[in-house]
């Protein structure tokens, strides 16, 4: 079998997952997209393992490990999402903006800040 088939499929799946991670609003959907990306990687690992005929089967072993890690990841990730939802009442990623600098910071009181003051608010309203 041509190696390009699994490789290209893995690339496309990966990029699909990438799009989902970047575009989805709900955190659980983002986690699904992450799963897609992991599976794309797994597919690559298996395909190359078969191609190389590795006596140690490093690719397949790593795939198993990845699946286990992914299971752990999904458990922790869901726990975090649940916690966030319980605290914030929402699991929408673009409403979790505590990383943004508040416009009314101590040294941000310049005229330059005035236009961007309402920006987080509009974002929040669009979300709601």
């Amino acid at each position: 079998m041509h190696l390009a088939y699994p490789a290209v499929l893995a690339v496309l799946l990966f990029c699909t997952g990438l799009y989902g991670v970047l575009a989805r609003r709900n955190a659980i959907l983002v986690l699904m997209s992450v799963e897609l990306m992991l599976n794309a990687v797994n597919l690559n690992l298996v395909a190359f393992d078969v191609w190389l005929r590795d006596t140690l089967h490093a690719g397949q072993a790593l795939t198993l490990f990845t699946i286990a890690v992914a299971a752990a990841e999904i458990g922790i990730g869901l726990a975090i999402v649940l916690l966030v939802y319980r605290n914030r009442g929402s699991s929408d990623i673009d409403r979790l903006r505590d990383l943004a600098e508040r416009p009314s910071g101590p040294d941000g009181a310049g005229s330059a800040d005035a236009p961007r003051q309402p920006q987080p608010d509009t974002g929040a309203e669009a979300t709601a």
Binding site: L18, V21, L22, L99, A100, G108, A112, D113, R116, Q119
Partner: protein, 683 residues
């Protein structure tokens, strides 16, 4: 103990006393008084010992090379001749008197420890100036005195007047000190040494290249320190300080430093006839102007301050005619009686509760309340007015005699013009001095009106000091026959012509003032009614009894009474210097000139127009340049990054997906670039 050791110890003891006093003052108040008085007393004894040891013999010179500087060596040198020894005694005695007086005068003052330490430091600096034989060391003492004066004038720093006065004293004397510094450098560069003996030897041997320039530069510093026209304006304002400070610094010692320096360097000045003429004119203007101003002052201490300026004018006049013996003679006698006058004025202010002559003239029985001050101040005023046989008479006659000597052309190398200027202005000033001394006495002690408030007897420490200073005031003139041996050997005994002339004009001045006073007070002492006591050109004004700080609590310390008096003077009279008292004989004598004389002939206004306003305008310009020009660049340099930061901050939305998108996009670009580079190099 050798003469050298004694002379070194004399400045050192008060210095150590000051240091220890400053260190211990707050923690152990019990030591403050002994620490203030004892070192100064010991220094006074040492100065007497120095004087006895020197004994009018040849000058003693000791020097130790401080450090090789390459070009001009700086020495720690002592130079003790008759002048230094006698002035040292004056400094020591007056400082001791002032320290003793201060223990009573500022007895409850919370800042007494630092005050006493500063007075000790000042004494030490003055003795250093007197004894040193090197101009650099002299400059150190000179500047230490300046800063001590600043602190002591500002002792009542709670009051606006004291703050302004201390700043003014500092700035004006510094204005003179800068040219003085240049003058010293020029002199040292010319002579090749900072040693005074070396400089004088050089002048006698080779002469100077620019004697006039150097003399005028030095003269500026002398004018600042010795309060000569036109830099005298700080001295009357400095009366906002405590009275003992006025007595010590602004009458007896510090202002004498300028005169002393000129006396030490007289050959330098004598090398330039122009400098002598300038000195003479400066002395003449100072003398006459200050005497006129003194006649118009209402604050008793300001009268004395202007009187000091005038007497210093006599000294510089004597120097202008090349007779430093007469100048130092007058310095010594003036130091004694002016210290007495100031300390007496402190007692008077305390007893009367006011520093205003107008208020005192409406107060009866002040003389009975303070008999010690009455008698001693009376004699001191007689000495000030140069009435024989008191000290002032002999010393002033020595000055006038020297001026006459020069005017008639008997003094070699002294321009006759200088002699005539000093002689005529000296005689005129003698008249005016007698007038204001009489006015001061009449207004203070011959007032009519309600009895002066009774504060009980004055502290013993204050009155005893008055009697100590009383002795030289009375008797110092008699030493005129012995002093020439200590000085240059020129005779200091009065000559007949000037004695008759001087005493005559003094008597005339006193009588005219008395007549004017009688004119203003038709029946002095008979009807003690305030409404009639001021009999008047304008009754409405006369009936208005000026208010002073008479309401001071009876147990207030003298210093507190004086501080309150200073504070309440401007609100009561609208001016710190004059008072609208129509019964003032000075007003009658001066006529339309009174208004200007009270304001010191508006010299402050002139300074304000000439210096203060241009400086302020320049500062305003600099401020404008700083705010509008420089700050524009600075804030522009700040604004650009701020806008940049705002733009970058827009990216920080807090949306993790955006961050991740940007991160991946960047990684993608880098990856593609890496691939392209790899294939490019591969191919």
């Amino acid at each position: 103990m050798t003469l050298t050791t004694t002379a070194v110890l004399a400045p050192l003891l008060p210095f150590l006393g000051a240091v220890v006093g400053l260190l211990l003052g707050r923690r152990s108040p019990g030591f403050v008084r002994p620490l203030a008085v004892l070192p100064t007393l010991a220094a006074a004894v040492l100065t007497v010992a120095v004087a006895v040891g020197q004994g009018g013999g040849p000058a003693t010179d000791v020097a130790t090379r401080l450090t090789p500087t390459g070009s001009l060596p700086i020495d720690l040198a002592l130079h003790i001749d008759g002048f230094a020894a006698l002035i040292g005694v004056l400094v020591g005695v007056v400082a001791t008197c002032v320290q003793i007086y201060s223990t009573a005068y500022l007895r409850d003052d919370p800042r007494y420890p630092s005050y006493a330490a500063l007075v000790s430091l000042f004494t030490s600096a003055m003795l250093l100036v007197v004894y040193t034989g090197d101009l650099m060391v002299l400059l150190v003492g000179w500047e230490v005195m300046g800063i001590c004066s600043y602190f002591l004038v500002g002792h009542y720093w709670e009051t606006e007047a004291a703050r302004a006065a201390s700043l003014k004293a500092f700035l004006v004397t510094k204005l003179g000190d800068v040219p003085f510094l240049f003058g010293i450098f020029a002199l040292a560069a010319d002579a090749g040494t900072f040693r005074i003996t070396g400089i004088l030897g050089h002048v006698a041997r080779d002469g100077l290249h620019h004697p006039t320039l150097i003399a005028l530069l030095l003269l500026a510093g002398v004018a600042g320190k010795s309060a000569q026209f036109p830099l005298h304006t700080w001295l009357p304002d400095a009366m906002a300080g405590p009275t003992p400070v006025s007595a010590l610094i602004h009458a007896a010692t510090m202002v004498a430093a300028g005169v002393y320096v000129v006396a030490r360097l007289l050959p330098v000045f004598a090398a330039s006839a122009a400098a002598l003429v300038v000195l003479a004119v400066m002395a003449a203007v100072t003398m006459v102007g200050s005497a006129l101003a003194a006649l118009a002052q209402d604050d008793i201490k300001r009268v004395l301050a202007y009187s000091t300026v005038g007497q210093l004018g006599y000294m510089t006049g004597a120097l202008a005619v090349g007779d430093r013996g007469a100048a130092v003679f007058h310095l010594l006698s003036h130091g004694a009686f002016k210290a007495l006058l100031f300390l007496g004025a402190g007692v008077i202010i305390h007893a009367a509760g006011t520093n205003s002559l107008a208020a005192m003239s409406r107060m009866g029985g002040l003389a009975r309340r303070i008999p010690d001050a009455f008698w001693t101040v009376t004699v001191a005023l007689l000495a000030l007015a140069a009435i024989p046989p008191f000290a002032g008479f002999f010393s002033k006659e020595a000055v006038l005699g020297a001026a006459e000597h020069a005017a008639t052309g008997h003094a070699a190398g002294i321009p006759g013009a200088a002699g005539w200027t000093v002689l005529l202005s000296g005689l005129l000033t003698a008249l005016l001095t007698a007038a204001y001394a009489t006015r001061l006495w009449l207004l203070t002690f011959c007032g009519t009106g309600p009895e002066a408030p009774d504060h009980g007897p004055q502290p013993r420490a204050m009155t005893a000091v008055l009697w100590v200073l009383f002795l030289p005031t009375v008797g110092f003139g008699l030493t005129a026959t012995f002093l020439p041996a200590w000085f240059d050997g020129r005779s200091l005994t009065p000559t007949l012509t000037t004695s008759v002339l001087g005493t005559g004009v003094a008597l005339v001045g006193g009588l005219i003032t008395y007549a004017a006073w009688r004119h203003a007070h038709p029946s002095p002492g008979h009807r003690p009614s305030p409404s009639r006591s001021a009999a008047p050109p304008s009754p409405a004004l006369a009936t208005r009894t000026p208010l002073g700080a008479v309401a001071v609590a009876e147990d207030a310390t003298p210093a507190l009474a004086e501080e309150l008096a200073i504070v309440t003077h401007p609100p009561a009279y609208g001016d710190a210097a004059g008072a609208p008292d129509p019964a003032d004989p000075g007003r009658l004598l001066l006529g339309p000139l009174h208004r200007h004389a009270a304001a010191g002939f508006h010299l402050d206004a002139v300074y304000s127009a000439l210096f203060v306003r241009p400086v302020r305008a320049a500062a305003e310009l600099v401020r404008f340049l700083d705010r509008a020009v420089v700050d524009t660049y600075v804030s522009g340099a700040g604004t650009a990054p701020r806008w940049l930061g705002a733009a970058v901050r827009r990216a920080q939305t807090g949306n993790v997906q955006t961050y991740l998108g940007a991160l991946l996009a960047g990684a993608l670009v880098l990856g593609v670039a890496a691939v392209l580079v790899a294939t490019g190099t591969g191919a």
